[in-house]
Symmetry: D2
Subunit: 512 residues, 4 copies
Amino acid sequence: MSDGAFPRPGHAPGMGRLTAAPHPLLFHLLYEPQFARDREEVLPRLLRIDAAHVLMLAERGILPRETAAGLLRVNRELAARVRAGEPAVEPPPVHRGLYMAYERHYVDRLGPEAGGAAHVARSRNDLNATVARMRLRDELLALLQAGGELAGVTLGLAGDHAGTAMSGFTHFQPAQPTTLGHYLAGVAAELLRALDLLAGAFASVNRSPLGAGAGLGTSFPIDRERTASLLGFDAVVANSLDAVASRDYAVQALAALSSLGITLTRLALDLQTWGSRAYGFLRWPDHLVSTSSMMPQKRNAFVLENIRGRAAAPAGALAAMLLGLKNTPFSNSVEAGAEAIAHLWPALTAGRTAVQLTELMLREVEVDSERMRRFLEGEETTMTALADHLVARHGLPFRTAHEAVGRFLQDASAGDLRSAAAVRAGLQEALREVAGREVLLDESEVALALDPLACIQTARYGGGPAPEPVRAQLVSLDEARQDLAARVAAWRQRLDRAETSLDEAVTALLGA
Amino acid sequence: MSDGAFPRPGHAPGMGRLTAAPHPLLFHLLYEPQFARDREEVLPRLLRIDAAHVLMLAERGILPRETAAGLLRVNRELAARVRAGEPAVEPPPVHRGLYMAYERHYVDRLGPEAGGAAHVARSRNDLNATVARMRLRDELLALLQAGGELAGVTLGLAGDHAGTAMSGFTHFQPAQPTTLGHYLAGVAAELLRALDLLAGAFASVNRSPLGAGAGLGTSFPIDRERTASLLGFDAVVANSLDAVASRDYAVQALAALSSLGITLTRLALDLQTWGSRAYGFLRWPDHLVSTSSMMPQKRNAFVLENIRGRAAAPAGALAAMLLGLKNTPFSNSVEAGAEAIAHLWPALTAGRTAVQLTELMLREVEVDSERMRRFLEGEETTMTALADHLVARHGLPFRTAHEAVGRFLQDASAGDLRSAAAVRAGLQEALREVAGREVLLDESEVALALDPLACIQTARYGGGPAPEPVRAQLVSLDEARQDLAARVAAWRQRLDRAETSLDEAVTALLGA
Amino acid sequence: MSDGAFPRPGHAPGMGRLTAAPHPLLFHLLYEPQFARDREEVLPRLLRIDAAHVLMLAERGILPRETAAGLLRVNRELAARVRAGEPAVEPPPVHRGLYMAYERHYVDRLGPEAGGAAHVARSRNDLNATVARMRLRDELLALLQAGGELAGVTLGLAGDHAGTAMSGFTHFQPAQPTTLGHYLAGVAAELLRALDLLAGAFASVNRSPLGAGAGLGTSFPIDRERTASLLGFDAVVANSLDAVASRDYAVQALAALSSLGITLTRLALDLQTWGSRAYGFLRWPDHLVSTSSMMPQKRNAFVLENIRGRAAAPAGALAAMLLGLKNTPFSNSVEAGAEAIAHLWPALTAGRTAVQLTELMLREVEVDSERMRRFLEGEETTMTALADHLVARHGLPFRTAHEAVGRFLQDASAGDLRSAAAVRAGLQEALREVAGREVLLDESEVALALDPLACIQTARYGGGPAPEPVRAQLVSLDEARQDLAARVAAWRQRLDRAETSLDEAVTALLGA
Amino acid sequence: MSDGAFPRPGHAPGMGRLTAAPHPLLFHLLYEPQFARDREEVLPRLLRIDAAHVLMLAERGILPRETAAGLLRVNRELAARVRAGEPAVEPPPVHRGLYMAYERHYVDRLGPEAGGAAHVARSRNDLNATVARMRLRDELLALLQAGGELAGVTLGLAGDHAGTAMSGFTHFQPAQPTTLGHYLAGVAAELLRALDLLAGAFASVNRSPLGAGAGLGTSFPIDRERTASLLGFDAVVANSLDAVASRDYAVQALAALSSLGITLTRLALDLQTWGSRAYGFLRWPDHLVSTSSMMPQKRNAFVLENIRGRAAAPAGALAAMLLGLKNTPFSNSVEAGAEAIAHLWPALTAGRTAVQLTELMLREVEVDSERMRRFLEGEETTMTALADHLVARHGLPFRTAHEAVGRFLQDASAGDLRSAAAVRAGLQEALREVAGREVLLDESEVALALDPLACIQTARYGGGPAPEPVRAQLVSLDEARQDLAARVAAWRQRLDRAETSLDEAVTALLGA
């Protein structure tokens, strides 16, 4: 074989039957901006995939061992440069994307005979699909890590405030007495479910499409279980078309993250409401608020707005991705495999940022429990307890008790509600009117029913805020959190071990 | 207790402190249209929830057994009427929704003392949350059933056509030889994964929020594990706020269905492309096509367009639901629990319709395998095989082989490609030019490499279309399908058994 | 022509080359449910379109006058029944949609010779496109009407409260003094812009696709300007493919409504925040709030949550519609013309409901101006005014003044801020520290700068809340509102006149 | 004023009452990445806004002329550096965003007295709002330019192919004869409507919020009409709250672009379908297709997939933005003004790329009119014409004619359809059967009705494909295109002139 291979003017290896370079506008709008992004995110993964593929080809006798060794030596060199942050694969003045430049680098270094040998039984289609899954699994692990930490902080704060009385709210209005810990335990439960879905997405993602070629397999007797294992995948995607056509795992990941994001918008809205001066329940230190360039008195918990913005971004990206995938052929396509998938990455970053910022805001929140308690005592949050008391102690049907309390409230003044005597009198009057019967109450039982702190203690059923059952919930939620952390650690270990195995196997081949 | 209860003019039980009926516009725009819908979907489930709740209250001594019996007798009567399709709970001229009219019915029948007793330790908040989960789990089972049947038909058709040669496509252009069975096996794999996610959603949905009250629990010593079990739930939602505030399960269900829907749009696009006259691969019988009111020659497979429309609807509803939930307080709210959730039901129906129609179109498709084969033979789909052959038999590096075939194609006419002799000559020439070396080919090896049917047989690796490994995939996919069907059957059984238990327990109490 | 026309067994007119009825599942899932909806919304419009078409055919000599008269007589009869709410076109046991049953009705009444004559130079494609535009324009007019009324109420309320002092907010925190009127004027401006976009959508919608046939025109010398005019359209869609393929006008309408909806979610969130007990600025009468079935003290402004839910629905439907249209052929298709468009109607209803409910809530809101003022006076909203004063009267650079006020606030107690003397002293100290200079302030100027009511009066520039410029804004916004109302009235008149013209022309032909 | 201003440790101007730098995580996740983006896009616009503001302050006597001159000199210097691509505003090691560093730069250069003077009567809120509008209007002009060019190419191609016969399609099946020009004219009409909506968005965008301060105006007697004019705005936003809270213009722009994008997905799907080997109507030269790294025969028009991906992106971003805006307070907020708006920029780039790529693909498409014609002649596209002929010449009702042709097709072979004699015989037989009557046809009339080219010529009504009316459409569409181009040119001129005025006014002040 001569050095004169690929001699046609303007012809680059891989161009096949084409006789012209890409149109300048294509180059400018598509190939050039993509190259920069790919060198960052694709190249490091491509190098590992390539190493595993070449190693397997040699093991299976598809490539001569020496050819493989030549390729792997260049591969190691490139990988070292990438790790060192040095420029590794230089783009020619005009090109058709990173992969072609990458392959060209081998040909330039080893000549066409060896340099062009690696691309047997593979295609950019399965390579792209493999890179996308490897990138996504890394992102998911980082997200699960951050999510687990957020869950930990939330549960810790909930534990600290399992006894911190506050008004519960529905429809923005005071409802019944509760605790901040009870609120946070509820949020943490939803949060952990979303993280569990994200972990489920990891399991779907971590399957190898490598070996599927263009989507129609190959006649070379490759061992795709081997490459899958060397790359840390749990299994292979059985069908080659499925391997290159499907992006359902990306939808699964983004859907789970969207759900988590929605939870964060709800939490952040509550936190900002309660941190507003009208409530004054929460406050953040100076390094977490901003002031205004115009209004010197301002202390804005603006981070909660960034949280909501970033947390909502995955749901937008999910819409974009579903739109991108809709009505595409079930096969490899740029529309599905490059364009639609592109919505994934910024959304993962945004989602992770929202998670990290939320953790920070919960970690450093200052709770004004005194102000919470005062608000609670000033509102009518124990009226349900009062009605419940009439049922439990005086045998009234609940609806009648509810009506009587409602009737009483129609005429009661704010002052009345602060006096057990006034409540007793008014309620007895209302019971006469509504239920047509005389109920004898004494002040002490009324006072007890009106006491929000007592209410919290007795709300032990149905998942209510009494501190003891909330603490039990927190224990069980923390077990879920630990279980998740253990899964994440195990996955990381598997990926690390695979990386080591691949390195060792390459070293062994090179040494031989 | 006198008959004179709730005597205030214009006052209905449950109005509490309010002294006015709803504004006519509220009634007209909100309560009235909702009533009709709720009577259809909510009432049957409310009756069962109410029965379980009252039974539990009696078992726990919170309600006297006789009071409970009275309530349960009316409950049975109403349930019988609902089953018979008779009008059960009549709306008063002005009302505040089904629940209030429902409770009113008991008061009217049993008097306020007994009729108003059931509403202890509960709120519309936890009732609504419970109804939504019961409704959704029914819908999910129906969907999983239909999805399982679609998977079955797809796998059956794939099995029938594991040997039916066709051109594979990428970017709408002929790629390499494959089979229709291989294509369908790939689609079925993605389909079954979506169904598995839907089954996962069922597991998330099937947890009982009952007992959470307004979201802050209760001081009555209720047994929510008991009501959960009587209603067929797998477990309770531990935290009462989580129970009424969360709708993440609805997002989970809709996300899984959106993913399934996207798969169906891709399949239906391929089917319609291949059914177009330019391809002519597929055809449907008269009862599945429409003609035109204007163009008498028309046979339109329009159902594939309905499929795409309905299949895309869940993704739109998902966007709507995420939008609906964003920035709502984490508590009970109309915005989350009624408005956002409302996007669920039409989307589930649309998704199920798409599944059923797809099953029908696959069940009845007529495959023109002759036309598929002719198209395959007329296209250049074996050029990869030719390059592979040069690598495997003649030791060329793949990139050089690929280049040589590409070079050959630049000058080859359509006629050339049909003659092994012409290919041999042209390729040898191209090899000389591109690789600078002489490769001696004989016509028989070239003829074999050019034969698409032979290609299919040898594409046995990497998940390719060779019939044997495809059949193995189908076996394993069918196991997944059967496993899913078994899970669905077990869930149905559990729900049926719970219904029976509840009936028996009510009968026992009434008998006692 | 014999009575024996269309004699083939099971054959209905319009089936053309097809020899089988639709598959039962198609009938059950598609045709049957659609028939009921179409009879409601499509039939009344189809009757008018048909009348205009037949009339034009007769005028152009394409149909004999007597044939046309026969058809128009049946048309009138059917229209009368529809108006009377009587059943008009009965579905056969099995059918392929309303149109076929409609045409069948004419054949049954007049025989095939006359009954089958109307379908010349038309197709269901252009009929569907015409019906969709007629339906949408009616919906848009109703929406514009409701929107105009909402704008009127908002502007009226803004005028009433142009002098009602309240704290302005940014980031949920008190910012600077403002008025409720200023807030509402800002909202009204955004609202009126959205209505203007909706009016623009009306103009796009109101063009006639009739005559486009299947999308490829006709060789019959029809006069589509005539039918357009008889149906109240402003013009025709010039290109026949555009006429049946495009649904961009639906996107335009839904986008405008989505924008309006987002405005309403923002307004309704503010209203509910300010109506919460912690703020207490706003309140609604009993007939606009609900209580709780469990918590007797509750007065929930739940309608604001319905508003947000309904107002967000169009944005969800927009996502669904864009998804539905994406990657459809640019031609007539069920996917674009039936499925994608179907998301329009419930979204229009939801959007209109949100508009009407918002109008109601603004019309009946009770403003607690005393509580607003007290809150305003208790917060630090005049600190910007204080800094501005240092600039305007004492020549400090704004940044230094801002710093000095900020410095002062670091140590100031709540009590300090209520005393002009304390502020004077503290601020002078801060100015020494921050600016290194002595600024002599007297108590009266400080007191004036600290007075929020005075602040409002002086905030006359840049669109600020001083009552006079706000009133000027309201005048100009009201002109926009009146202009919109005039356009709506003119459009209604045009549609009414067209209806009259059509009736008269039919009468004339029947009389002749 | 001493050099010792802002002397507190760790204190930067603008921090006001805050005593701590931002938390490192905030800095790392928010401020730092934003700084790089803002320096690119915000700084150049901020400099112009600042110049206009300072100039106006001097003109109104709010700032001393010398102070203004000092500020403007630094401003000019910075602007010159930005234009030269040199680093202009260096970020301190820790900071709170570009604006604070920008202001700091002035203080560093001029001392606090002069350097801190510019920030009177303004806030980051109105600055941000102004920058966003200036950035968006630039993007819209670029988009309108590209869109106009695409429209021009489309119309040109349509004109070239007004006589190029092809089959029209509905439901992916041959419908009636048409021309490629007719198809493209239809697409161009929808395209131009979308561009008109984008131009409408420009008009909404081009209004100045400057002077609104934090959203509550100012007591300084500023002249916001003057700054608006100096910055090229058409008008001011009247209400200060509206000025900082509203982002409806961004929704309007993105909605118009989404609609345009959907049109492009439809066009690109049709082009790729017709470019597939099964159709073979269209082809692109080598510099616009890619081959496969594995399959040497491949010529993939992959750019059409990039087009669909990029064209769909704005619709995804629209969903994200609506989600981002939903339930935000109607006031300045990070959530609306920074987070939600951030979805705009990549979507505008993606949309523009799609437009440019589509233009390229249309400009260079190679139309195989011979292959189009052959396909047309081989299909049954003239059956409607045949039925029309029976109506027009033989007086049959259309439905009967349609039935008869349908009946005939049931038994006709492909060969029959190519012979006028066979059609004549078959059709007469069908007419006897269906209509019960004898219709005498002669071969020549049948032959004419069967000729697709003749059909195209006669389809002159209802917007059909006859070349003459299509050419008339193209003339009128081109007028719309020219009108758009003129509007764009006028806007550009206005912006350029404003830039010149601003420069001159600054020069004048500096000279004085």
